[in-house]
């Protein structure tokens, strides 16, 4: 058994004597006898070595694929080793939330730099310090816009988990979620013309099917109707595609896992949220600001805290307290490591591989479902054979795309792939068709 304790039995006796009790049992005298726990029915504690072996054993029950064509909200990208070398430092890992500014300037400055990078990436004015995931950031962004006009319009082409989380979060607040059906895979903003009292429109671009939405037109119509535009973006795509600020979005959110985070079976990931300046006091979560100390030196602090639960309690803009700070650090280090040129190269490679593969798949008979521009994900149609396609790839140790239904597969390509891997996968698909 390991226990990480540093107190000897002799010291324990000395401490008990100083406190003036016979045994630690006396501390628990307020717990009613009938509520006392029986001995916990858990396995005996393992040695350090056995614990490692046990966890290694569990990890080996998972299949790790060398070649991955699965995205759908979680992406395998190249992570430069310097990212983990930095983020693994214990001071970052084992620190608490930086409430004590004098002792936490390093954490605070790293968050300030994160906010700056997210603002520059999205071309928005202000960013918070992080949210649990792209899905919860989306839900809370919609809540920011629906205090008065209690309707959110979205489309059936957004990430399904995000859609589920929107449903969960909006209903208890009396906000109605209208899900508009799409035909050619892209949002049809005319849907907005048929409903009144919409607080915000929530759009994802590239959307779940990888297609790039016509954000400029959407934004124009949304604002004509007096609603706000909340847009979810893949941050890697911003290395090459237009940013939410370019098309006047009111709030930009998204899942920043692609910025240096492992797939990790789905978490921890990183929800980011950036907005126009006038929405800052409605934003949920921590925000770091720059100020000076009493001697006039630059200093960073958690600011605008009167929005938050520890001060405003039931009137807070959100209940969020712990966030995903260490993931935000990871994203900042990743962005600074690759820089603007590197991010563009990553985005370009993703797009190039995806388009190469889409063309190659079409050549062997897996037709593209949609005709509009896509980023690094796309849908193919192989009537009745989608499952067999994925099984054939799996048999070869390749993780194929996401099975949408019996006919359709959502594929993803990133910069970690090679032409050889794609060619091999395509030929296996061709073998099935």
């Amino acid at each position: 058994m390991s226990d990480y304790l540093s107190i000897t039995e002799k010291e324990k006796q000395e401490m008990l004597a100083r406190i003036g009790v016979q045994s630690t049992e006396e501390f628990y005298q307020d717990i009613p006898v009938r509520m006392r726990a029986k001995k916990l029915n858990l396995p005996e504690g393992k040695s350090t070595q056995e614990t490692c072996e046990f966890m290694e054993g569990l990890s080996k029950l998972n299949k790790v694929y060398d070649t991955v064509f699965l995205g759908a909200g979680c992406y395998k990208h190249y992570i430069p080793p310097v990212v983990k070398a930095i983020t693994g430092r214990e001071e970052f890992l084992t620190a608490y939330t930086p409430y004590q500014a004098e002792m936490s300037q390093g954490i605070l400055q790293s968050i300030f730099e994160y906010q700056t990078m997210i603002c520059n990436l999205t071309k928005m004015d202000v960013s918070n310090a992080s949210h649990y995931s792209g899905a919860t950031a989306a839900a809370e962004a919609c809540l920011m816009c629906t205090e008065k006009a209690k309707k959110v319009l979205t489309f059936d082409n957004i990430n399904p988990d995000t859609l589920e989380v929107l449903k969960t979060y909006l209903a208890p607040r009396g906000v109605k979620l209208i899900i508009s059906k799409t035909k050619d895979g892209r949002a049809n903003i005319n849907a907005l013309k048929k409903v009144e009292g919409v607080g915000c429109v929530f759009v994802q671009t590239p959307n779940f099917y990888g297609l790039i939405e016509n954000a400029k037109t959407i934004s124009k119509v949304v604002h004509e109707y007096g609603a706000k535009l909340v847009v979810s973006v893949n941050p890697i795509s911003l290395g090459i595609l237009e940013a939410p600020g370019d098309y006047d979005a009111d709030i930009a959110v998204g899942e920043a896992q692609p910025l240096g985070m492992d797939m990790n079976f789905g978490g921890p990931f990183l929800g980011f949220m950036a907005a126009k300046k006038d929405l800052v006091r409605k934003m949920p979560g921590r925000i770091v600001g720059e100020t000076v100390d009493h001697d006039g030196n630059r200093a960073y602090v958690l600011t605008l805290q009167a929005r938050e639960q520890h001060i405003r309690r039931e009137k807070a803009s959100s209940n969020i307290c712990s966030n995903q700070a260490h993931c935000a650090l990871t994203a900042s280090v990743y962005l600074a490591t690759v820089g603007a040129d590197g991010l563009r190269e990553v985005a370009q490679s993703c797009a190039s591989y995806a388009h190469y593969m889409a063309t190659a798949l079409e050549f062997v008979g897996a037709k593209p479902k949609y005709s509009s521009e896509f980023f690094h994900e796309f849908v193919t149609v192989t009537p009745g054979k989608a499952k067999r396609v994925l099984q054939a790839l799996d048999n070869a140790g390749i993780l194929g795309g996401w099975l949408l239904n019996d006919d359709e597969i959502l594929w993803c390509c990133t910069e970690v792939l090679t032409k050889e891997e794609i060619d091999k996968a395509v030929s296996l698909v061709g073998g099935v068709l």
Binding site: R281, Q305, A306, I311, R312, K315
Partner: protein
């Protein structure tokens, strides 16, 4: 024009149908450095005794209750850029102007009576 006070630390300066509203020196002192005033919109209806806006300090938020019934006709926009004006002179800084609906509530107090309540 004499100011009338509420037991929740607002003051009202009544001039015919026009009522200027602010908070007492005592309330401003208790709040400490005010960092933000969330001004309501012109046209909003307010009801006596009910909260219609907030002022924030670094570590607290205070609700401001309407001292009369009526409709907001003006807000002091100087407070957007300089909320500290309230700290400098709370009883000389109006926050909103309300067009009075009905009578001035009978339980508003004179400054003298109000100051007895905060001792």
């Amino acid at each position: 024009m004499a100011k009338l006070f509420t037991n929740t630390h607002e003051w009202a300066e009544v001039d015919g149908k026009s009522v200027k509203v602010g908070i007492s020196n005592y309330a401003a002192g208790e709040l400490g450095d005010i960092v933000f005033v969330s001004l309501p919109s012109v046209g909003d209806k307010v009801s006596y005794g009910e909260s219609f806006m907030e002022v924030e300090s670094v570590k607290s938020v205070a609700e401001i209750n309407a001292p009369v019934n009526g409709k907001i006709v003006a807000v002091n926009e100087d407070l957007d850029a300089a909320p500290e004006l309230i700290n400098q002179d709370a009883e000389g800084t109006w926050i909103v102007e309300v067009e009075l609906d009905g009578d001035v509530p009978a339980d508003l107090m004179s400054k003298e009576d109000y100051e007895k309540t905060i001792k």
